[in-house]
Symmetry: D2
Subunit: 141 residues, 4 copies
């Protein structure tokens, strides 16, 4: 995967995400990651509605966040999600930066395919995901 | 309805519900109301899982909140939900008080029955709700 | 106030705001209202940071929401906040519509000025708010 | 640290934490961790209010979560936070289990001391934290 699939979104920090220390409460970053992840998944036409239609659930099984700099009410952030693995599971890396380009947060999520009917874990990704990723990457040549 | 069906819950305010003014952000009270409402609905065995099984959705169509006093991190509150109408819709009143018994917040929600299959609004409450409420009230005599 | 001060924002419904009924959980609308309200307050240069600088807190003391239509994951909504009172308190009305222009939700919040030092309620709005509103309205002529 | 400082809390999963897959949305676990962490910090009398009084902020700089089993609306979970490092930073491990004792989630947070005045990072923990931890551990003998 030399060419990376990415999804990006800009978010202005809302008042209700800010804690008594006047910085964004650390748990809210999980939402910012998700918004960028869904942008990425839309590109390969395999966002939540398509996942459900394909007969698979994709629970997050692992989450890591490193907080580098704090952000405050009204700050404008850019969140980028990059697909780094898709053949056996979906692994996505995140990077949040502020308007000056400083790194604010880095993170990673891992999702696995679960058969919606049997509730069993799939050890390879469903063909539809693999096909959609390859199709999208082809357009990058 | 002389005898009122109620559901109550005690909640210690968590850090992540507190805003930069060091008080609970006003939108979080909707969660406190819901926790007490579900306690009430469990009493009549008609909480979310039973609603779904009975073939009805019960969206909230109206919400009103009056904020009387602010609360802070660590405060212990008591939330009481009282059923005040059920024959055509579910109308519930809420009262939040602090440890000294002071009223913190008052509120009200209205929910209507929607047929899950047809997505149509029901103008009378499903029989199961009426029966369950009457059964529960009988036990109060 | 013939000419109304308004603030508007477009929001794409994120996955984490959707409940098991596959519609936006009713409490999340309070966040959508707030994002539009802050756009309105920025126009008169009296958003949260300026409120704090001016020595006043502006807690929400009353909230009303009417839910007309449900919205789902990925829906694009427009939220408009309109200032309808400011001389003694801040009263704002909200209207959420979908891409077809259908009304989704209507609401209203009331905020009162509290002196940050004395914690006492002010029965008239601080002069800075009145001046800023008039200044902004003047530019509409 | 043979004897470990721990804080525990029981939580009944509220409806508003459940996503369209009918399981708890992965970001909400950060809240459950925090509630248990604050129970732990209260034991050593160094919870958020005491942190602020002591002149330090303790931002979370690292968060890791492993999701083992899904949980649903109404499930009763037990969340335990264990202090595993405090001399240079606060490192806490979390374990969530269900009523059958199955592990649901494991996690870890790292917090560092930041001088509230200078906004500079402290490389050793403030003496008050070290003293309070030792005092509490002494009582375990």
């Amino acid at each position: 995967m030399d060419k990376k699939l990415t999804g990006s979104v800009s978010i202005t920090i809302p008042f209700h995400d800010v804690d008594p220390m006047r910085i964004v409460w650390h748990g809210h970053y999980v939402k910012y990651f998700e918004i960028a992840r869904c942008e990425l998944l839309k590109k390969i036409e395999y966002d939540y509605p398509q996942m459900a239609e394909s007969g698979y659930l994709w629970p997050v099984v692992d989450l890591k966040i490193k907080y580098v700099k704090a952000i405050e009410y009204g700050d404008l952030i850019n969140v980028t999600a990059s697909l780094i693995e898709y053949e056996n599971r979906i692994k996505i890396q995140y990077r949040i930066s502020n308007e000056s380009g400083d790194v604010i947060t880095k993170g990673q999520t891992t999702q696995v395919a679960v058969n919606a009917k049997t509730q069993e874990l799939e050890f390879c990704s469903p063909q539809i995901l693999i096909d959609n990723v390859k199709e999208e990457l082809k357009s990058y040549d």
